[in-house]
Amino acid sequence: MLSAMDRISTFFAMGGYAAYVWPAFAIAAVVMVVLVIATLQTLRRREREIADLIKGRPQRPGPR
């Protein structure tokens, strides 16, 4: 019977393919998370700028 640690390290070894499997999942995760963060940051910034516009406050220059 494999110990718990053996089973965990077997899982991470992915049958010898760890060097390919984990980077694949990692890259997918990183790209998708960065996309979400970038989307939300841009959205918040544009919402702020619209709110400033409506209130008549002076605009800070910057990319739209």
Binding site: G15, V21, A24, A28, M32, L43, I50
Partner: protein, 226 residues
């Protein structure tokens, strides 16, 4: 816009639930392949990403057509919003494909019909994004990008049937084919769940990005008026 706001929390929840379920099922409870061993698990990110790359481009082309032909204002917003998401998924499909190809085929890349046409799809996305921002007048950018999106759509069926029409190293269709999927249910089910999860991820991000593009358009109008 209000409908979008109402759908958003449900779409977000569906995204998280489906991707979490798909990942746990795929990584922990699905079997290794008798030939590919544990490396087959890359399928759970590679294939759904590729599906999304094609699906999103199709949405983008449809949105572009509605903007160009019927002058529907939402069309340009959807095309602007969708493009970067599609580019990301195409990138993920290409990279995870290479990571799968190296141990299985012995190579990171091969210029076969499937891989080459997917690389072209990636360049089409990048070109689309570049055109959107290439002009001082955003409307000209919208129109140029829309034309590219529509003309480039021919690449989508080419990609789909590439493994059929040409002799490719990439394997033939195993899900969307006449006669039904040829993948064992123990792998097919988590794969479909990941596909659905990625689709809801796209829907969620699209709703946010369309709102964002709508605001950007309003800001451009306001800036032009001053």
């Amino acid at each position: 816009m209000r409908m979008a706001a109402a759908v958003l929390p449900w779409s977000t929840a569906a995204t998280i639930l489906l991707i979490a379920t798909g990942l746990v099922w795929g990584l922990f409870f699905s079997p290794p392949d008798y030939q590919q061993g544990e490396s087959v698990r890359i399928i759970y990110v590679h294939v759904p990403s590729a599906w999304m790359a094609l699906f999103i481009y199709s949405c983008m082309a449809a949105a572009s057509a509605s903007a160009l032909i019927w002058r529907h204002p939402l069309g340009d917003l959807v095309a602007r919003a969708a493009s970067p998401i599609g580019a990301c998924f195409t990138f993920i499909a290409l990279v995870t494909g290479s990571l799968w190809g190296k141990p299985m085929w012995g190579t990171w890349w091969v210029w076969d019909a499937r891989l080459t046409s997917m690389l072209i799809l990636f360049f089409l996305y990048l070109g689309h994004m570049a055109l959107l921002n290439a002009f001082d007048d955003a409307n000209r950018g919208n129109r140029a990008a829309a034309i590219l999106a529509i003309v480039g759509f021919i690449n989508v069926p080419i990609i789909k049937f590439s493994v059929d029409w040409w002799n490719t190293l990439h394997q033939p269709e195993s899900v969307f084919r006449l006669g039904g999927p040829s993948i064992d249910p123990s792998i097919l089910w988590p794969l479909l769940i990941m596909g659905l999860g990625f689709t809801f991820f796209f829907v969620t991000l699209l709703l946010l990005r369309v709102r964002s593009e709508f605001l950007a358009a309003r800001l451009r109008v306001a800036a032009a008026g001053r």
